[in-house]
């Protein structure tokens, strides 16, 4: 099997995975709990994008923007109304609450759209061959979208006032509070951004395959693996983690039967937690 082809496929898969992984890690860094509701928000985004694209006839880019906006707003609302009251009870309780939320939200999607598979209104193009490697035009588009979104997220965090405030809260919430940063607003921005990115990622996944209410849930393991491998709370880490998981899953085909692909994500989590618990880019736990 062509190793370069496998690596190319892995980069494509990893770049899509990176978007929701950034969302997860951004929320973790500010709100300090692993938000499992990311799965259903990816589904919400995928369906919002589908409605925009297939029902209202928007092209892909505006549909992606709508996916981000709707899932971000749903994320903001669910966090304010459902998860926020849990937070005073501790991390574990909030994480379990988010798990319940994801199941509930997934079933709301099922209530309105049913269990059927849906595809975006998007012509499928044959692969182009570059240097003996097959590359799908749609996947290259997805890669481009991912890179632009990542650049925008980095730009937001490093060059805007609100981005800097978010990093400050993530770094030291108490110090940020003393400096007059309103942690409630930062938490809302983090929820909107995190779940918006999850929804965008959900639609990117759907563009390449098809969507149903379980779209987000199916991707939850590699998304968490990417965030953990990169170091929960580190945004460059989430990108690196997603690429590591994406490429490792594809390369595993050289040594393992295809039916063990998901084992790669588990093994990666296990190895990283054993050898470097803070993740590739995470800071030492204190």
């Amino acid at each position: 099997m062509n190793v370069l082809q496998l690596i190319a496929n892995g980069i494509m898969a990893g770049s899509i995975l990176a978007i929701p992984a950034i969302g997860l890690t951004a929320m973790y860094s500010v709100l300090r709990f692993p938000n499992f509701a990311i799965a259903s928000h990816a589904t919400v985004g995928a369906f919002a994008g589908w409605v925009a694209n297939s029902v209202y006839g928007f092209s892909v880019l505006p549909s992606l923007a709508i996916a981000l906006l709707i899932s971000g707003l749903v994320g903001l609302l669910t966090d304010e109304l459902i998860l926020k009251p849990f937070r005073s009870a501790g991390v574990i309780t909030t994480a379990i609450g988010s798990l319940a939320l994801t199941i509930g939200l997934e079933n709301v999607v099922r209530l309105f759209f049913g269990n059927d598979l849906r595809g975006y209104d998007l012509p499928l193009a044959r692969d182009i061959i570059v240097g003996g490697i097959h590359l799908g035009p749609q996947q290259l588009n997805n890669l481009a979208v991912s890179i632009v979104v990542m650049a925008l997220v980095f730009g937001f965090l490093f060059f805007t006032r609100m981005g800097k405030a978010m990093r400050a809260v993530a770094d030291n919430p108490r110090l940020a509070d003393i400096k007059g940063i309103d942690s409630r607003i930062v938490a809302r921005i983090a929820s909107f951004m995190g779940m918006g990115l999850a929804g965008l990622g959900g639609m990117l996944i759907g563009l390449d395959s098809s969507i149903d209410p379980l779209t987000g849930f199916r991707s939850m393991l590699p998304i968490f693996a990417a965030a953990v491998v990169g170091g929960l709370g580190s945004i460059p880490g989430a990108v690196a983690g997603a690429l590591v998981i994406g490429i490792a899953e594809e390369l595993s085909l050289l040594a393992l039967p295809a039916s063990y692909k998901s084992a790669v994500a588990f093994i990666a989590i296990m190895l990283i937690l054993t050898l470097r618990p803070q993740g590739l880019f995470g800071r030492e736990a204190n």
Partner: protein, 395 residues
């Protein structure tokens, strides 16, 4: 009261208690139906019940079986093993039925089967998992649905018949994925074709590009896609993108009209779909169409018709309403050298005249092997064209 008086009084009381039961038993034969009326199988269960009731009405009008009329006791298995076991225990314990017909999901049938064989009750089912007839059921299970080995054989014969020489097998991880691969390989070899490779993939991934790359590297001219709907969509798209232009075949349950709606037509054009078929065109099938006033009666309605017909003929043949006797009589009326009959009413008439019968049903000829599996059945092949599914042939 002396001893003599006590005994006679007791005998009268006991006799009077038993009498209504005996009288009722002499007039009505109760047979059990356990089928999904709710849950995942709810679209098929009620139609199966209707098909069985139609046969019962016809037979009751013609005078019943061994001089008694038939009553179906219908229970809902909820497509849920736990609910099904409770319902089965009620059927065998309270209603004392000698046969239960209609389990649909393999998990339900596997759960209900021990209840049946322990109580010496026959179980007639549509579930496909190979493991069901491999249970130690002592002959009490009869399955009218082809098992996966029979399906694999027929599919491979079809693939060879369209001229495919190099076939690749792609299957989702299931208990039958590996056994089907072996069966397909041996049939293809016998037919002068070959299986050039196979892979079993993990379900629910968002991309199978690398898997498809490895399949195409084997240069097949035909690919067998043993998948469920979500994965099939991804696989078909990945095959199209990779520029694969050979033949493809999959199960009809994976390529549904909903799946077709979600994929552009030129990606799926030419995809062959296959499913077990009722014996369309046979005399028994046309009787089902007429009885149900449904020209498109499907495989489940046909199989339900066959269960009740086999059970009634077996009761008539053995002369008893006992599970073990029905079990022993089924093969006497479904296969062998007797006169061919295509409905229960027709067969009952001949049996009452002391003649032997061989029931050929609406789902197939209903010949069972020693495990309780049918030995042959027909399959329906269709092709995707312009987003629609068109019938090619039924063989």
């Amino acid at each position: 009261m002396n001893r003599r008086e006590f005994l006679s009084a007791s005998a009268i009381v006991a006799g009077s208690l038993c009498a209504p039961g005996i009288l009722r038993a002499e007039t009505v034969i109760k047979l059990g139906v356990l089928t999904p009326l709710t849950g995942a199988g709810a679209s098929d269960g009620p139609r199966m019940v209707k098909a069985m009731q139609a046969v019962v009405e016809e037979v009751n009008k013609a005078g019943g079986v061994i001089g008694r009329s038939i009553e179906l006791v219908v229970e809902d298995d909820q497509t849920n093993p736990e609910a099904a076991v409770r319902a089965a225990q009620k059927l065998v314990g309270v209603d004392r039925v000698p046969v239960i017909m209609g389990t649909w999901a393999s998990a339900v049938t596997s759960a209900v089967a021990p209840v049946c064989w322990e109580s010496k009750t026959c179980l007639m089912t549509v579930s496909g998992a190979d493991s069901i007839t491999q249970l130690p059921h002592q002959g009490y299970i009869f399955r009218t649905q082809p098992n996966t080995a029979l399906q694999a054989t027929k599919h491979a014969e079809y693939i060879a018949s369209v001229g495919a020489k190099k076939v690749f097998y792609v299957a989702v991880q299931t208990p039958f994925a590996a056994t089907m691969r072996e069966q397909i390989a041996s049939v293809l070899t016998a037919k002068g074709s070959s299986l050039v490779g196979g892979l079993i993939y993990e379900s629910n991934k968002t991309s199978y590009r690398s898997e498809i790359d490895s399949a195409i590297a084997a240069k097949p001219d035909f690919i067998y896609l043993n998948s469920y709907s979500p994965d099939l969509t991804v696989l078909l798209k990945d095959l199209y993108r990779a520029g694969y232009s050979g033949g493809r075949i999959t199960q009809s349950y994976a390529y549904t009209s909903k799946v077709a709606e979600g994929i552009q037509a030129d990606v799926t054009d030419g995809l062959i779909t296959v499913q077990p078929s009722s014996d369309v065109g046979s005399e028994a099938y046309s009787l089902v169409q007429k009885r149900l006033s449904n020209p498109a009666a499907d495989s489940y309605e046909a199989q339900a018709t066959d269960w009740i017909s086999l059970a009634l003929l077996a009761v008539q043949k053995s002369g008893k309403v006992v599970g073990t006797d029905i079990r022993d009589a089924v093969r006497l009326i479904s296969q062998g050298g007797g006169t061919k009959v295509y409905s229960a009413a027709e067969g009952l008439k001949l049996l009452q005249q002391g003649k032997d019968v061989n029931y050929d049903g609406a789902s197939g000829n209903c010949d069972f092997n020693e495990k309780g599996d049918i030995m042959d059945c027909r399959f329906r092949y269709s092709a995707a064209k312009g987003g629609k599914i068109e019938l090619i042939k039924i063989v």
